[in-house]
């Protein structure tokens, strides 16, 4: 059983507050894309992943790849709250003389495994890491988070088709299925459905979860399989901030001072 104590809930709230502060201060986009995956990241970084902030390059560590690099503020905030670097670094996001670019740069801070921002790369990179882990007989697990819109990329399907052949039971893909992308409703741009069937027919183990339910996320991650696993995490874009939830415009807009204040009150 996962620790669903106040600590876990509170951690996710703190991460969301950091995201809001970062995107408001720097007038950055993609708040909604970041907020939708906070609960997934919280379970990963505070429960599931075998990682050590004090030794972030340990060869036996688990690898996490944020393939939807535009949600960078969520990963930076999670890493900072997990102790990979000081929380003050979050103030250096997306600004002049900054440290943290809008899309991920692995040189920026410890804990970022892969530079990303161009969509459709992360799963293939994860496959390479999974193969290395298997050939070297290590126990490292590899987890990749992609966006739902990212599944429009042909390269995703090259990777989805390839992974089962390698029997990569150490590889998990999590789809942050927040139902919105650059031009509107994901399934109106290109219909992904039936998504579960698609993955199953490509010979993946598929688990669908409420992407804001810690227990469901955790038990999906722990589920044993001999195949690569995909967790379709049904999420709400902008989750946790009422005026952002399921609102397309927060793919682009950044919160002003008043909006930030309201978010803070809601995340108390």
């Amino acid at each position: 059983m996962i620790d669903t104590s106040l600590d876990m809930i509170n951690t996710a709230k703190q991460i969301r507050k950091s995201i809001m502060t970062m995107n408001s201060a720097s007038c950055a986009s993609h708040s909604g894309s970041a907020l939708s995956m906070v609960d997934v990241l919280t379970v990963l970084y505070f429960k599931f992943l075998n990682i050590n902030p004090a030794n972030s390059t340990d060869m036996d560590r688990d690898r996490f790849i944020l393939s939807k690099g535009h949600g960078s503020s969520a990963l930076y905030a999670t890493l900072a709250h997990r102790g990979f670097f000081d929380l003050t670094v979050l103030g250096k996001f997306y600004v002049d003389n900054g440290i943290l670019p809008g899309h991920l740069d692995k040189e920026a801070v410890p804990g970022v495994e892969v530079s990303s921002g161009s969509l459709g790369h992360g799963l293939s990179i994860g496959i390479g890491m999974s193969i290395a882990s298997k050939v070297d007989k290590r126990d490292s697990k590899v987890v990749v988070v992609c966006g739902d819109g990212e599944l429009n990329e042909g390269s995703m399907w090259e990777a989805i088709m390839f992974a089962p052949r390698q029997k990569l039971d150490n590889l998990t893909l999590i789809v942050d299925y927040n139902k919105l992308q650059g031009y509107g409703r994901t399934n109106e741009v290109i219909n992904l459905e039936p998504l579960k069937n698609k993955f199953e027919s490509f010979n993946w183990l598929v688990v669908e979860v409420d992407g804001h339910n810690f227990e469901e996320i955790d038990s999906a991650l722990l589920k044993k399989t001999k195949k690569p696993k995909v967790i379709i995490a049904h999420t709400i874009k902008g989750k946790g901030v009422s005026y952002m939830e399921d609102q397309f415009i927060w793919h682009y807009k950044s919160p002003n001072e008043e909006e930030l204040g309201q978010a803070y009150r809601e995340l108390l």
Binding site: S115, S124, A132, S155
Partner: protein, 305 residues
């Protein structure tokens, strides 16, 4: 060249467990020995070049040195953005090994020709662009590539090219390979234009008529600035020969050095035109159609000096 590459790689892989080889389903009759000896370190990822490059990046991020083998357009242009982000930007130890420089694969048609690759690959920060003229350079570069930190592009021709280098000379990326020395004119070439360059050299130096430097610029990036600047300072005629588009390759690089120097040597670029081939036929045939022949180049040089 391709045999020099794979044989050297197999030798190195016996000593180094971190060496991997990936193919997007090309290399039949070339890669089998590696596959048979190191099955765990050989991957055919299917006809999916973007996937090949990104899987290689993932392996490299886990400490591996990964070679990807294919025909040049499919290992450079098809997955170019994967190369940009996951090889060049992240500076991963992936080596792109392409065969079929220029119009080597003549009758296969323009989809399989490579006339733009030097231009696009040298624009990538962190990328080494290696364009060898003979199997000796390939063997040396393959050995040197094992421990290099960052990505490398190998622009190979095909097979059965003669060795023209002095095999006792020293090799390193970023260093010109002098095939012949002479101080009247400079013939600088790269890659699979070696046969043309040798013929041009022979004709121009026949009977001791004049002496020429004949230089294989295998390292398009990093470029041997010291050597080219010295040559420019001597202000003797300079000619470049490459089986690549006139845009962005060896000739363009040398032009840039001359333009920024205070000298004005006689200079001309010999290359393929800025044009796709719709001619059907062998490499030799297409070269002739594009007037990229030793005879034409010799005539042009004679008229300039």
């Amino acid at each position: 060249m391709r045999n020099a590459f794979i044989n050297t790689l197999i030798e190195e892989a016996r000593k180094n467990d971190n060496i991997y080889l990936i193919t997007p389903d090309l290399g039949f009759s070339v890669l089998e020995d590696f596959e048979n000896e190191f099955p765990e370190r050989f991957l055919n990822v299917g006809i999916a070049e973007g996937n090949a490059v990104d899987i290689a990046a993932g392996l490299a991020l886990s400490g591996k040195v990964v070679y990807i083998y294919s025909i040049i357009p499919f290992v450079t242009m098809r997955p170019f953005e994967q190369i940009r982000v996951n090889l060049a930007y992240m500076k991963t130890n992936v080596r792109l090994v392409g065969v079929g420089a220029g119009v080597t694969y003549g009758p296969l048609g323009a989809t399989h020709h490579a006339i733009e690759d030097l231009a696009i690959m040298r624009a990538l920060p962190n990328m080494i662009v290696f364009s060898p003229s003979d199997p000796w350079e390939v063997e040396c570069a393959t050995k040197e590539s094992i421990n290099h930190n960052g990505p490398i592009y190998f622009r190979l021709a095909k097979k059965d090219e003669p060795v023209i280098s002095d095999t006792n000379s020293e090799f390193s990326f970023g260093k010109a390979n002098f095939i012949k020395y002479g101080d009247d004119i400079n013939i600088i070439f790269t890659g699979n234009a070696s046969d043309i360059a040798m013929e041009v050299y022979s004709a121009l130096t026949k009977n001791g008529l004049r002496k020429a430097n004949l230089i294989s610029m295998h390292s398009i990036k990093p470029f041997d600035s010291d050597t080219i600047n010295k040559i420019i300072q001597d202000e003797k005629p300079i000619f470049t020969i490459e089986e690549h588009s006139i845009i962005g390759g060896l000739g363009s690089i040398v032009s840039e050095y001359i333009a920024e120097s205070n000298k004005n040597p006689v200079f001309k670029r010999f290359s393929l035109p800025d044009e796709y081939s719709h001619y059907v036929g062998s490499q030799k045939h297409i070269r002739e159609k594009f007037c990229f022949t030793s005879e034409k180049i010799i005539r042009d040089i004679e008229s300039l000096i």
